[in-house]
């Protein structure tokens, strides 16, 4: 039951990404092109998602266990550091170049699109490079 529910959440999320337009890189770049012909659609994606999310996280903060009785993993890290800023800058620049962020890229890969597959392959290499670098440097990891 728990496994089925996780699958369904992934499915709902993915359908939401496609319906919203997030899986179309040209639409994403149309939103990021603030000083050109600006397509504000993606602001509504964020708005719609947060309008639902804000209530659910207010509720989650009052609870100690999840529906299935397991732990509720709310992030405890509230540190604003160089890692957060540099990471977000790198991510944002990559997002602007290709028009893919991780979720929509995975959906495009699954639909068999060559560009999505290429992007995801490079993204996985990037994530592995990060993991290997972390291990070499031996710094304590701060994760959300």
């Amino acid at each position: 039951m728990q496994r089925f529910s996780e699958f369904m959440v992934g499915l709902i999320f993915g359908v939401g990404l496609i319906l919203s337009g997030m899986t179309d890189p040209a639409k994403v770049i149309g939103f990021l092109d603030l000083f050109g012909q600006w397509d504000p659609s993606l602001a509504l994606v964020m708005g719609g998602a947060i309008a639902v999310g804000i209530f659910s996280f207010a509720l989650a903060k009052k609870r100690t266990v999840n529906f299935f009785g397991g732990a509720l993993h709310l992030p405890k890290n509230d540190h604003i550091d160089k890692r957060l800023i540099i990471g977000a800058l790198l991510f944002g620049a990559g997002w602007g170049i290709a028009g893919y962020c991780p979720g929509p890229a995975l959906v495009s890969m699954a639909s068999g699109q060559a560009e999505g597959i290429t992007f995801v392959a490079a993204m996985l290499v990037g994530m592995i490079v990060y993991e290997l670098a972390q291990r070499t440097i031996h710094k304590p990891r701060m994760t959300d």
Binding site: L44, V52, V125, G126
Partner: protein
Amino acid sequence: MIDWAHFTPWASLSGGVLIGVASALFILLHGRILGISGILGGLLPPKANDATWRITFLLGLFAAPFVFSALAPAGYMQMPRIDASYTMLIVAGLMVGIGTRYGSGCTSGHGVCGLSRLSLRSLIATGTFMVAGFATVYMIRHIL
């Protein structure tokens, strides 16, 4: 200038609501933050007792394009438009992979979940990657 021709308020708002519903279900039912880069990065490498939920969620996400095209009215599905070359897709993929892991999150984890739980850390991350995205598209479209 607003690009009214490509503006899709209802589809984007409804897609956003679905994304919010998925994030709400994930935290309340499973006690997890729905952040794609974190879910995926946690599989590199997979850890004992921490891989199954990630995989079932991702399988649901991968099923989304097939379910969407089965449900959507004929002709609704538009082919995504991708302007970036393969070289640029690889560069962008590497940046997104490293950046999202280094900054502990992407559009879903920081942008949707983080803002919904009113995290200042995620607000700063989201502001930073949005500005980086705007600046990158400005450079590519209007300067280079």
